[in-house]
């Protein structure tokens, strides 16, 4: 009897979703959905060297395609450190990456740099490095190897004074392979520690970033996605007047890849639409309209870009296309080569309800 009462109460409080009365919906319109494929109008790749100072990671490494160096600057308050027991630099590895064991050297920087603007070629927003890849003393302070969860490099007094008198330090990979460390934007920032009488004093990190170069940029007419050195894939689909005055339920964007490069098993792909006519990498973009995680080895990618479709339905003259990109573009070093012509946009839509 108790069960019967419980069932009755649940029933009275709308615990089922039966489509009873659904014919009443027809009073407000015809809701048969229709699907179409929008024809591909254009697709190509835009790339740009961007500063990586806000990245959550510091990437160190090189191979025949990329090279990445780490630049650090610490803020020393005392100019006369004496009686120190230990001087060391600690970097923490981000183990969500496939990290290689690589040798590296540490050099003193000879030029000031701006964390938020430094790239492989530029030391700040206006000036170039004298040598691309950073200006530093040829003789290294120390050598090291990326072994274990953290890398510790010990210095002596002479090194310390060179570092204090320099503009920072640069870590340069000597072997092939890559290793990712946490940046100060993450939870485990690089630490420069000095120990005196058993007490450890951590020197504040003033700036950190990594700078990346790529040997060859993809051709404009190819279709690539990339991070570290970002490649954005511009895609535009032709508008179909069948969509006039309709409501898009989904816009299923699919494309295929034929090759990948990366330090992780997974990547995140995002999409933004262009708010203004295309003028290049810097074209004004919408907020993220779609983002999805994939295995980097996937060959078929699908995202719902219904917001883009709905925008071009509402403003057919604002169909400026979309950018597909790896998100975040400064997180790691990765790229995907997409199959040209593989982009498809399937749209399913209905007529919106009539007003009361």
């Amino acid at each position: 009897m108790k069960r019967l009462w419980i069932l009755l109460i649940l029933f009275m409080f709308a615990c089922n979703k039966l489509p009873l009365g659904e014919e009443e919906i027809d009073e407000r319109g015809n809701f048969e959905s229709v699907s179409i494929n929008l024809p591909l109008y254009a697709s190509f790749t835009e790339s740009k060297e961007i500063p990586l100072g806000t990245s959550q990671n510091l990437i160190l490494g090189k191979d025949n395609k990329y090279q990445s160096r780490i630049i650090l600057k610490f803020s020393f308050s005392d100019t006369t450190y004496q009686g120190l027991d230990q001087i060391k630099l600690v970097l923490f590895r981000n183990n969500s990456f496939h990290n290689d064991t690589i040798s590296f050297s540490i050099h003193v920087l000879t030029s000031e740099f701006s964390e938020s603007d430094a790239t492989w070629y530029k030391k700040d927003n206006t000036e170039l490095w004298i040598q691309p890849g950073g200006d530093f003393e040829v003789d290294s302070l120390r050598m090291g190897k990326t072994i274990g969860d953290s890398v510790v490099v010990f210095f002596n007094y002479i090194d310390l004074h060179k570092i204090m008198n320099g503009k920072g330090i640069i870590i340069i990979p000597q072997d092939t392979g890559f290793c990712a460390f946490y940046a100060r934007e993450s939870s485990k920032s690089p630490r420069f520690q000095i120990m005196k009488n058993g007490v450890i004093n951590t020197i504040p990190l003033q700036a950190d970033c990594h700078i990346v170069k790529i040997d060859t940029l993809p051709n404009y007419w190819e279709n690539w996605l990339g991070s570290g050195v970002p490649f954005r894939n511009y895609v535009k689909f032709a508008y179909d007047t069948l969509l006039n005055n309709t409501k898009a339920i989904y816009g299923e964007l699919t494309f295929k890849s034929k090759g990948h490069y990366g330090m992780r098993d997974s990547i995140e792909i995002g999409v933004k639409y262009l708010k203004k006519p295309y003028v290049g990498f810097e074209t004004e973009l919408s907020p993220v309209i779609a983002i999805k995680k994939f295995a980097i080895s996937d060959t078929l990618f699908t995202l719902d870009v219904v917001q883009y479709v709905q925008r071009i339905i509402e403003h057919p003259d604002s169909n400026f296309g979309i950018f597909i990109y790896l998100s975040p573009e400064n997180y790691d070093i990765a790229n995907l080569e997409l199959v040209s012509g593989s982009h498809q946009l399937k749209v399913e839509f209905i007529k919106p309800p009539k007003p009361r």
């Binding site: 029933f11 089922n16 979703k17 009873l20 009365g21 014919e23 009443e24 009073e27 809701f31 339920i249």
Partner: protein, 307 residues
Amino acid sequence: MILFIILVNASVFSIEGLGEDQAIFRNFYYGDINIARIEFSLRPEFNILNKGSDFRGIFWTNPFLLNMKIPVYKGLSLSLGSIERYNQSFDIYGQRGSLGMYIQGRGGIEELYFQLNQHLHSAELFFRGSYLYGSSREIWEYTIGNYSIADTFLYKNNGRIFCGGLKLFFLSCYYEGLGTLNMDKDGSDTTYELPQVLGFGFGHNFNSLSFNLAIEHSFGGNWDRVTRAKLSVVQDRLGLSYSYNPWHYDGIKEHNLSFILKIQLSNMATISFNPYLGLRMKGSLREFFFVPEFELILEEVFARRKK
């Protein structure tokens, strides 16, 4: 003074037209005009939708209404109040092939009114002017496979309607008309002509038996022309009423059976329990509803204060 609080109901059929008309079979006449009263009502509604062997239950609670009546001078009284005029709440699931839909409506059109009643011996006259306002929100949710998207529409309403009538001995009549409603949706508005109503009433006491008949004919605008009727019989504190209420919209018919139980708490308070059962129908779709209505009536409050 009359304070009238109510929880009004909602129906699957409220998706149509202006929604469910709540302003039917209203009593505009106060009888003894010098008695001040405060009324509170509570009307939750339990709905059960039925088609064939399928059932779906819904429980509704709705907004709050207010009515104040102030006796002024020599049989003249003034009323000011707010009621829900049209209820636009509904809750429907639908399936069209692979397209799943879930649609919810909430809100409605409120009526803020000002009414004057004049009592003259065996006659009572009234005039009412109403301002219509309020908003409703509809959420249309579509699902296909793993994709889901929702649209929200906000309707903002404003309008007016007027009403006047006369009661003479046991006969009464009234006319409601000149009603227009402006409904704004996303910046584009539509003006509707509201249905006009011609109402007739007959009420008489035969010994301890009170007998009331109300007939309303609704017409005009782009709405269906309908005639509705209500018959009630009350003896002492017990009563029974039946009403037939076809809606303004295509083919919706409603039958109501109401029981009345009045309990006198003291000289100044009465509790009325009016549970009613109803059935709305359109084609093979049926909506059974049960409303356990509670009403608290306080009388002579101000008169006693004067003493």
